[in-house]
Symmetry: C2
Subunit: 365 residues, 2 copies
């Protein structure tokens, strides 16, 4: 049985990357050591982290005035690091909340504001309609002296995405890009800061990418060196021991994406995969995608439901038996969710469609 892994993250990785990691596990390129055993100060690891950064810069066309950091703690730690570092001079920060993770980012900011001096403000939210669309904002309502406007480019749980960035009245956009980095083409220069957990489109969990515009780096130390963008930047992500093996896998993934034609090619393939599913769901009277605005649909995470909770449960049970793993929707929303990131193969989507058709035939009223 072919296994297809629809996990929202940690997610499927390119097979050639895993094969190379397997081959090099006991001896990284003649060093006599595993990558896991390399000192982070060794020339071998220096080459790995430098190559990873260069390739990522190339893939995302990152301008020279942006720093690339390889950190730990996932997007969740960025929820605190962003305000800790970016509100030293400008004290207001706006949040667009279009999903569960965006809400967590805002909640963490509000909590932090009890200890440090800044004012997080909820700029817009679609929570009242269970995050079924991306809320719109009015540029005129944004104080141009604010530190940043925070948004999530892709809502992993709810299956929505922002493709056209809002006008923020000149205020830098800070984006959680965890679930569609390298899957959708964005212009880095449209952002002040981008962060992403690696475990969806980049590599193993435990690596966090931060791309930050030079002029936004903090001037004064923040309360912990590990949470300090400037210290991390000035130490080339080697302030302490970074997650070396994860950075190595990320480097292999970056090389692989480049070998396939880069982000534009990835986006093209992802649109093709997603459209197969959306077109089928739209013509069906049985399946339904809960996103209310078609233009807000994610091409990475595609939630759908059948006419009843009972049928959703049956679908999930039978899908698992067919080798469709982790297709169950997030525990907070139920139903099903197909996460089809860069490394997810077209054949997996085609096989899922065949199963969905067959399931519909057997179970429609």
């Amino acid at each position: 049985m072919t296994v297809y892994n629809f996990s929202a993250g940690p997610a499927v990785l390119p097979k050639p990357v895993l094969e190379q990691a397997q081959k090099e596990m006991l001896d990284y390129r003649g060093s006599g050591m595993s990558v896991m055993e390399l000192s982070h100060r060794s020339s071998e690891f220096e080459e790995i982290i430098n190559a990873a950064e260069l390739r990522l810069r190339d893939l995302m066309a990152i301008p020279d005035n942006y720093r690339v950091l390889f950190l730990q703690g996932g997007a969740s730690l960025q929820f605190s690091m962003v305000p800790l570092n970016l509100t030293q001079k400008k004290k207001k920060a706006y949040y667009i909340v279009a999903g569960s993770w965006g809400k967590k980012a805002y909640t963490e900011a509000v909590k932090l504001a009890k200890t440090i001096d800044f004012q997080p403000e909820l700029l817009a939210s679609s929570e009242a309609t269970v995050f079924n669309h991306i809320p719109t904002i009015e540029a005129a309502s944004i104080d141009p002296e604010a530190a940043y406007v925070h948004l999530t480019t892709n809502n992993t749980i709810e299956g929505t995405a922002i493709y056209d960035l809002p006008d923020t009245n000149g205020v830098p956009i800070v984006a959680d890009m965890s679930s569609n980095i390298l899957a959708v083409r964005y212009q880095v220069s449209d952002f002040g800061l981008i962060y992403a957990g690696a475990q969806k489109n980049i590599g193993p969990a435990g690596v966090t990418i931060v791309i930050v515009r030079d002029d936004l780096l903090n001037d004064s130390p923040v309360l912990s060196a590990m949470l300090d963008y400037r210290i991390q930047a000035e130490n080339g992500s080697l302030y302490n021991t970074p997650p070396t093996y994860g950075i190595y896998i990320a480097r292999l993934v970056f090389d692989y994406v480049a070998s396939l034609g880069g982000v534009d090619k990835m986006e093209e393939k992802n649109v093709e995969k997603a459209n197969l599913l959306y077109e089928f769901i739209d013509q069906s009277d049985f399946y339904r995608n809960p996103v209310s605005v078609k233009g807000d649909r994610s091409i990475c995470n595609i939630p759908f439901v059948t006419p009843s909770d009972e049928l959703d449960q049956l679908f999930n049970k039978e899908a698992l038996a067919h080798g469709f793993k982790n297709i169950k929707g997030h525990r907070s929303v139920g139903g099903m969710r197909a996460s089809i990131y860069n490394a997810f193969p077209l054949e997996g989507v085609q096989d899922l469609l065949a199963f969905m058709k067959e399931f519909e035939e057997r179970n429609k009223g």
Copy 2:
């Protein structure tokens, strides 16, 4: 040429562990997925993290009233997390500074105390003598109402260790055990909290172990959920996506250590390896170990020097050509350092000794 990796961390890992990881890289035990691709909410990963915790509890004889957490950010992030969480009620915290890392822990505490309300105090320091011994303390000088006394059980850079814990007048000891966890037998019940970066005796960089006594967990939320011991404990280290692959390797290492006879056996072997080196250095007029008190010597990190900086440089150059990698001393102290953790083989120490003898013959005055 046999390569021996004397790196202080990331360090050598047991070969059987790497071989098993290699074998399972593309298909973890029939799942059809790599461990890197497993959802952290999957039954497969649940089994991994639970088995890792159970085995560690067994190896260290961790009492039931201690929680075991698998976190990110290394010991360096613990420098901030410890005071953030442990000073909610008791406001005073003492630091014993016997090495560069202990000094960093204290410095980070002092920095944090500018933002949150607590008083870090330097209890003792051996910095004036370049950390060449463990400073002694007077129990009577410790306020019994303090939150904790922080110490480092093994000073990686300076090559010293604390084997007999000081009397702290009833105040809980918080220990950075990064460089001798599982290498030396300690009684967990002698500590309030133990933390350790994984990259020396446990697994790949990017995993941090925290062992904390139940009653010391914070009552109120701290400023960031990711830095909150109680949130991490209540979520079984799955508040967000943990470093899954690193935890998997740690589990394999724990199993391997158990298969060899556990921590007591590791300590016995480490003492044997270290004594070979120390005895040779002590009888030599050429080599010198900079630690001034023999009882304070580390069995994990053994620094040594020749009669001159020039000879140190020559030694490092020739050693590298002989396949002795990463034996150069830390950039802050120079000379040489042999880090010989659990996974470092006796043969590597014997080969190094042969080389040291031969080098001495050729270069003595």
